[in-house]
Symmetry: C2
Subunit: 355 residues, 2 copies
């Protein structure tokens, strides 16, 4: 049975990427060896890493003075690495609090200096993106989370920042056009629009590093990984390879412009249904609605069992909302076709007719 | 053509593991979903993590008061995590220096306290394991590397330590019987006898943690990962899954006793040939020779081209020695059959006949 995978992450990737990844485990590059048994120093793998990095630069139009890294540890390790690499001794960092992930990032920064939450939407259970705050000039950096998977919010316009702008883009990188030069540092766990869990993408403007006056452990220092082209130690070979395959797929289909249009079409279709169908209510302020993660409630709890059984029967997977919001969450990352969204919309409309 | 993969790591894994891993990328557990697109919080993946942990405990006969973790960042991140979790404020740690990996571990510990190198084989390019040193009682822990992949040495008898014994077992864990209760902490990058690059195994005695008096960043604190059963953040799903498959294979075939015998047979066959064949010389003191990584030199450089062409033609891969030793290195991890070692031995003997 064909599945429609709305999982929030790890999540759907292109079918052709699964096929090629599966083949590579048995015989990679016609070497008669598995991808996962060859040396990461072999020419065959070095080419994979190089292509993953160069496709990232090309697709996101990354300026020359930035480095692209594939690391490990997920965004959770980046919360710490950002602070230790950018917060000066007795320094200060400013954070925008848009939910779970921002809060975790703030907690790690507090170990290294003063952290200030400049704005927060906590009082409304993070159902909007705060705006009109002023970023102070005397801090070392300003940190925000571009898209919140749990609450379904997304920053549409990034603030002009007088200091280094740092962004956790784990759940919407590669989904839309962004001007990289606005940012001094971007990081993202691979497991949404990029590849399998186990790799972390970092895009960093080189000249912001090495200015904190503190000793940084080797593995936590971005300069270590820049100097070794992400091969200081054994990289997460499979995750980097599958990320490269996904980026090839994205380029072949038309790059960010293509996928941005596709993502808007999917989001428009689902949000239109939520707004027009009398049984459902979106949880997020309209202007801050995410194109990646759509959160909505079923107005009448007594219909829940029926709705759940209907979407499960139609092959839909991973629609349950996060426990801190309840209801439903439809995650529609790059690899999802609009046909899958149409299946969900049809189920929602059928429920309305029957109810 | 059948390949004989002597690569030092990432390295050979069992053929049936490659097959099942390849299948899981297309359809995992008959879910009609890929292993790498399902939520790590789904029942199907939680069972994978639980089985990987319980097989580790069973195969290594790990006592109840230890935790088993699957983390990210490789041994290189563990160099730092060991120090930050075990070195007390103004504390001291003692290291045995047996080459590259020990040296890197020492460098990270120096950021957190006083480090003492109690013994080193550096003066002989690490071709033996130092013995008869006395571990001081006033240090926080003693650290050693059980097997050195670069130089081909292996600790056969671990010292009795009056303080916490910490060991980097990246390249020989699961290859031989060890008494876990001798150690307070063991860590190992997955990419030798366990699974693909991207996961790190940690075995830690719980009551040694939380005693340093220092603040530890969340992701670097072993207690974070113990409390969340290695699911504090998204784990390296694929690497953990393939590790679980490899452990299933090991158990099915007879566990550590079986593989220890098999590894001794392979090592004996190759070392016997090195010692009896007039063209080759082993680089390591006999009593410290590794069963995993066999390092040897070709006595006459003019035969190099011929030898290289002969082993390449017979399907052998990854035999070139590390640049700091030169010559050749045959890595014969758990998954390698003795037939592959026989192919190498035959080539060596054929070269002697022809020369």
């Amino acid at each position: 049975m064909l599945k429609h995978n709305f999982s929030a992450g790890p999540c759907i990737l292109p079918k052709e990427v699964f096929q090629e990844a599966s083949n590579s485990i048995l015989n990679f590059n016609n070497l008669n060896l598995s991808l996962i048994e060859i040396s990461h120093r072999s020419e065959d793998f070095v080419q994979v890493m190089d292509e993953a990095i160069s496709l990232t630069k090309e697709l996101l139009n990354i300026p020359e003075n930035y480095s692209v890294l594939f690391l490990q540890g997920g965004a959770s390790l980046e919360f710490l690495m950002v602070a230790i690499n950018l917060m000066k001794k007795n320094g200060k960092a400013v954070y925008l609090d848009t939910g779970t992930w921002s809060s975790k990032a703030i907690r790690e920064a507090e170990l290294f200096g003063k952290t200030v939450i400049i704005a927060s939407s906590k009082e409304k259970n993070y159902n909007y993106i705060p705006k009109k705050y002023i970023i102070p000039k005397d801090a070392n950096y300003f940190h925000c989370t571009s898209n919140n998977t749990v609450f379904g919010t997304q920053i549409k316009d990034f603030p002009k920042s007088p200091i280094s702008l740092v962004c956790d883009m784990s759940s919407d990188i590669f989904s839309r056009n962004i001007d990289i030069s606005q940012f001094d540092l971007i990081y993202a766990g691979a497991q949404k629009n990029l590849g399998p869990a186990g790799a972390t993408l970092v895009i960093v403007k080189k000249d912001i590093l090495g200015k904190t006056g503190r000793m940084i452990p080797t593995m936590l220092d971005y300069r270590t990984h820049i100097n070794k082209n992400s091969m200081f130690n054994t990289p997460p070979v499979f995750s980097v390879y599958v990320s490269m395959l996904t980026l090839r797929w994205l380029k072949k289909n038309g790059g960010i412009n293509w996928v941005q249009t596709r993502n808007h079409q999917k989001a428009n279709l689902l949000y239109k249904t939520i707004d027009s169908n009398s049984l459902f209510t979106g949880t997020v302020n309209r202007e801050d609605r995410s194109t990646m993660n759509v959160t909505f409630l079923l107005n009448e709890p007594k219909l829940e069992e029926k709705f759940n059984s209907m979407w499960e029967k139609s092959g839909i997977n991973g629609l349950k909302g996060h426990r801190s919001v309840g209801g439903y969450r439809a995650s529609m990352y790059n690899a999802m076709n609009i046909d899958s969204v149409q299946v969900l919309v049809d189920v929602m409309n059928e429920l309305e007719k029957k109810a």
